[in-house]
């Protein structure tokens, strides 16, 4: 009999996340990694002269001005909102897990390429609120990290949301003291973003969120270095004890 191989820890995490969000009505959306300026910046209310557009922060494509390696998976949100406008839907909930790129020096906590868990929920005015954003993340983190998890919001700023918040999570690692960790940025979609998608901000509102996916795993499993994730090193896959979960019952994988 063939000994089974192993999935990458990111795949394992996305399956778990997809399941939790799936039970809250979220689908999964994809979009290009090589994006245009419109979906990555302009439509998301990032002004023309914003520092994020500088060469210092963003990878641009040679000979194709206006083409960037997406700096966030919020570009996928923009594309889905545009689809929504075209198809006349009144609401949508999606998570967009995917690779994003930042032109920054790498170290233990920074990579020039990493995964983001981005997503959004929109609906008719008044139906999707900041309180729902809180409820969604309350549940997500409790299911992902464990029942002792707590969530709090702090004021923040992002061009594509208003109001904007930072989401902190109270996490108690096994045998360690609990602590507040900054996990994601979020907020209510800025009316300009809704308008740019071709939707009417008087009729549609919703929240959007985004945070590093590797960071979720680093916190949950105690992984010290973000560079381990995309190194192509199989020792990383095998650095965890792995159990198969079948219909919520865990069974030890047959030892090899």
């Amino acid at each position: 009999m063939t000994t089974p191989g192993r999935l990458h820890p990111i795949t394992i995490a996305i399956r778990e996340i997809a399941d939790i969000f799936g039970r809250m009505g979220f689908g999964i959306a994809y979009g290009p990694e090589l994006e245009d300026d419109w979906h990555n910046f302009t439509a998301l209310n990032v002004p023309e002269d914003h520092p994020a557009r500088d060469m210092q922060d963003t990878f641009w494509v040679k000979g194709e001005p206006g083409k960037v390696l997406r700096t966030h998976a919020t570009s996928v949100t923009m594309r889905k909102l545009e689809e929504m406008a075209k198809s006349g839907m009144s609401g949508m909930r999606m998570i967009n897990p995917g690779k994003v790129f930042r032109n920054e020096a790498t170290d233990m906590t920074h990579e020039a390429q990493f995964y983001q868990l981005d997503g959004f929920a929109v609906g008719p005015t008044g139906s999707v609120t900041l309180a729902h954003l809180k409820g969604t993340f309350d549940r997500f983190y409790r299911e992902y990290f464990g029942p002792n998890t707590k969530v709090r919001f702090r004021p923040s700023f992002f061009g594509f949301t208003e109001p904007s918040v930072e989401i902190d999570v109270w996490f108690e690692a096994p045998g360690r003291k609990g602590q507040w960790l900054e996990m994601a940025g979020a907020g209510m979609l800025h009316p300009n973003v809704i308008k740019n998608a071709g939707l009417d901000p008087e009729k549609t509102q919703g929240f959007a969120f985004g945070g590093g996916l590797e960071r979720l795993l680093m916190v949950k499993y105690g992984i010290p270095d973000v560079r381990l994730f995309h190194s192509g090193d199989i020792r990383f896959n095998y650095a965890f004890e792995q159990k198969v979960r079948t219909s919520d019952v865990l069974t030890s994988e047959k030892s090899v």
């Binding site: 778990e16 799936g22 929920a121 809180k134 709090r152 700023f157 105690g222 198969v244 090899v256």
Partner: protein, 619 residues
């Protein structure tokens, strides 16, 4: 922005709480705190508030609203001296010219005569030191103090170092640098300039005296002999200043403030404050103030929102009184008619332009902790995860076939899409295929196989990732070898962007795994050793079943192997002429160093010795 609690206290009659309480107030209602050191707080002012909050005044005002304690004084609400009839007159001996009013929105220049440059009074020196600044002299300290107090960057030039020969009139011109023009800054560094950098120049001599909005020049530096100074309180365009600072790699307190576009109105308040302070601590007389302000900023437009809209966006249940109270605490002038609030932002609150900005003010001042979490209403119909599930189904099949999933870098040495600004010059392109990455990973996997895989497990890898050939990006599945079960037509690669994965995944439930805590692996080389032996069984004793027997042997080996043993696998077991043979594979590795063969041999000898002692016969 570094602030001190003592400095903040100047704004309040009531004693402020301790630094920790102040830090919490900011954190949950305004800005994150990077660091607290005694009475010093490093506040991470958000970009939308950097126009007014990179100042003690702005942060005092925030604190006043958050803690609901009134401000004693607000320098931005004190009426300015009217320039034509008030305290200052236009001097006949100083002229100011702006070349491009889009890049310099306002330039106020004051001539102060008869100052005495010297050390600062104790209170001023202490105030600057309390926020980590160094005292230089009374005039420079006055400009820095006022900048950190109300947010307006200021500068003072030695008037005597400017050319006034022709008509006894000093002249300042704000213009773009010429290609190759040079300036030496106050810190003694020389910069070669290009036309996208704006300069303050001595117009009579056509010589640069400062990098506009960034740093002063050596040519007009104050000295102990200085008696007349030109004080600058200006407003330089944010983008121009930021780009110049970036080009020069010279980010300063001044450039940081200008790039966040404070209102040009602030310049007049800055000038009033700094002139009052200079004449107070350095003497002298204000000979006059020139104010070049080609297109005065219009007052911010009123913004309206309703109580229903506020609660409808926040999901809250705030009352009209609670909302009104927020505007009162923030001292935002407002009216309320039929639950519709109209706020007229003061000039420095450049961030309030749309109704949602008011919603944010309400949410954060009352506190996001006052908003109870709500679960989203149940959505009709199952969410669409079919494409995702299709991809995952494929991955599950590969894992079943023994494949290990890897994730590799998107950058490559060669490719069809080149980056304009690669991070690593050896990886200037985007990968066109996953092939070389998975092959490279396979080579390393073969090397590590004894460490992580079973002895009979062949390393086989796959990756699902985006590739960027010239025809356009797609998601590639790449395997290091074919999957025979997938048929003869299936190769080692597939384009998942065109594959019909939605139907394939629609009803599939991906396999789920639970991972334990991460166990770091050693970076040092490992050594593999096999050991085989006939086991001893006492006469007349019934041998235990093979499983029990094997685990007993394993236990025995582990007991004598020590901490260097990182992996132990049963290679084989066979019986011959009533005797039973076992073979195990042992992998040794240290977390601290590269193991020597001698060390591995020594451990093997220890194990062999222990086995022999019981009567097992090591071969």
């Amino acid at each position: 922005m570094k602030i001190s609690r003592k400095w903040l206290q100047n704004y309040f009659d009531a004693p402020l709480p301790d630094a920790e309480t102040i830090a919490n107030a900011y954190t949950f209602h305004a800005f994150e705190i990077d660091e607290i050191q005694g009475d010093l707080l490093d506040v991470k002012v958000l970009p939308n508030r950097a126009a007014d909050c990179l100042s003690h005044r702005g942060l005092a005002k925030e604190l006043s609203a958050i803690l609901n304690i009134p401000l004693k004084t607000d320098p931005l609400r004190e009426i300015l001296p009217a320039s034509d009839v008030g305290t200052y007159h236009v001097p006949t001996s100083l002229a100011v010219k702006i070349e491009d009013p889009k890049k310099c929105l306002r330039y106020m220049g004051a001539l102060v005569k008869g100052v005495k440059v010297g050390p600062s009074p104790d209170w001023l020196r202490e105030a600057l030191e309390s926020v980590g600044q160094r005292s230089i002299n009374n005039i420079v300290d006055a400009t820095n103090y006022v900048m950190m107090n109300i947010g307006q960057p200021l500068h003072a030039f030695d008037a005597a170092s400017l050319d006034s020969a022709r008509d006894k009139k000093l002249a300042i011109k704000v213009r773009n640098a010429k290609e190759g023009e040079k300036i030496t800054t106050l810190s003694g560094d020389e910069y070669e300039l290009s036309p996208n950098i704006q300069l303050i120049t001595d117009a009579n001599a056509d010589a640069p005296i400062a990098l506009a909005g960034i740093k002063g020049g050596k040519a007009a530096e104050l000295t102990d002999e200085t008696t007349d100074v030109i004080v600058e309180s200006a407003n330089f365009d944010g983008t121009t200043t930021r780009r110049a600072a970036q080009a020069l790699k010279l980010f300063t307190d001044a450039s940081l403030r200008f790039q966040n576009r404070p209102s040009p109105e602030l310049a007049a308040y800055g000038m009033r404050e700094v002139l009052a302070l200079i004449t107070d601590i350095a003497g002298g007389e204000v000979a006059g103030v020139v104010d070049e302000y080609p297109a005065p900023a219009s007052a911010p437009a009123p913004v309206s929102t309703s109580l229903a809209r506020i609660n409808g966006l926040l999901g809250s249940d705030f009352s009209r009184e609670e909302v009104e109270n927020v505007f009162k605490r923030l001292a935002l002038p407002y009216t309320v008619v039929n639950d519709i609030f109209t706020v007229t932002p003061p000039f420095e609150r450049t961030d309030i332009t749309i109704p949602e900005d008011l919603v944010e003010e309400v949410g954060r001042i009352i506190g996001y902790d006052k908003i109870a979490p709500k679960e989203l209403p149940v959505d009709n119909g199952a969410p669409d995860q079919s494409r995702f599930r299709g991809i995952e189904r494929m991955k599950d099949q590969l894992v079943e076939q023994g494949f290990i999933e890897v994730s590799t870098q998107s950058f490559a040495p060669m490719g069809d899409v080149l980056l304009a600004n690669p991070l690593d010059k050896n990886m200037p392109a985007l990968r066109t295929s996953l092939e070389s990455n998975v092959n490279d990973a396979l080579a390393r996997a073969k090397q590590y196989a004894p460490l992580v895989l079973a002895p009979n497990q062949k390393p086989k890898l796959f990756e699902v990732g985006t590739v960027f050939p010239k025809e356009g990006e797609y998601v590639e599945l790449r395997m290091t070898e074919r999957v025979p079960e997938w048929g003869d037509a299936a190769g080692t690669t597939d384009n998942l962007s065109v594959a019909k994965l939605e139907d394939y995944g629609k009803d599939y439930v991906p396999e789920r795994y639970e991972l334990g805590a991460y166990q770091p692996f050693s970076v040092y080389p490992f050594i593999v050793r096999d050991i085989a032996f006939w086991i001893y069984s006492a006469e007349g004793e019934t041998p235990p079943g093979p499983d029990v027997e094997a685990s007993k042997m394993e236990e025995l080996i582990r007991e004598h192997a020590g901490p260097l043993l990182v992996r132990l696998n049963l290679l084989d077991r066979f019986e011959k002429k009533g005797r039973v043979s076992y073979a195990f594979r042992l992998v040794f590795q240290s977390r601290e160093k590269t193991l020597t063969d001698a060390e591995a041999n020594e451990t093997i000898e220890d194990i062999s010795g222990a086995l022999s002692q019981i009567g097992h016969e090591v071969r």
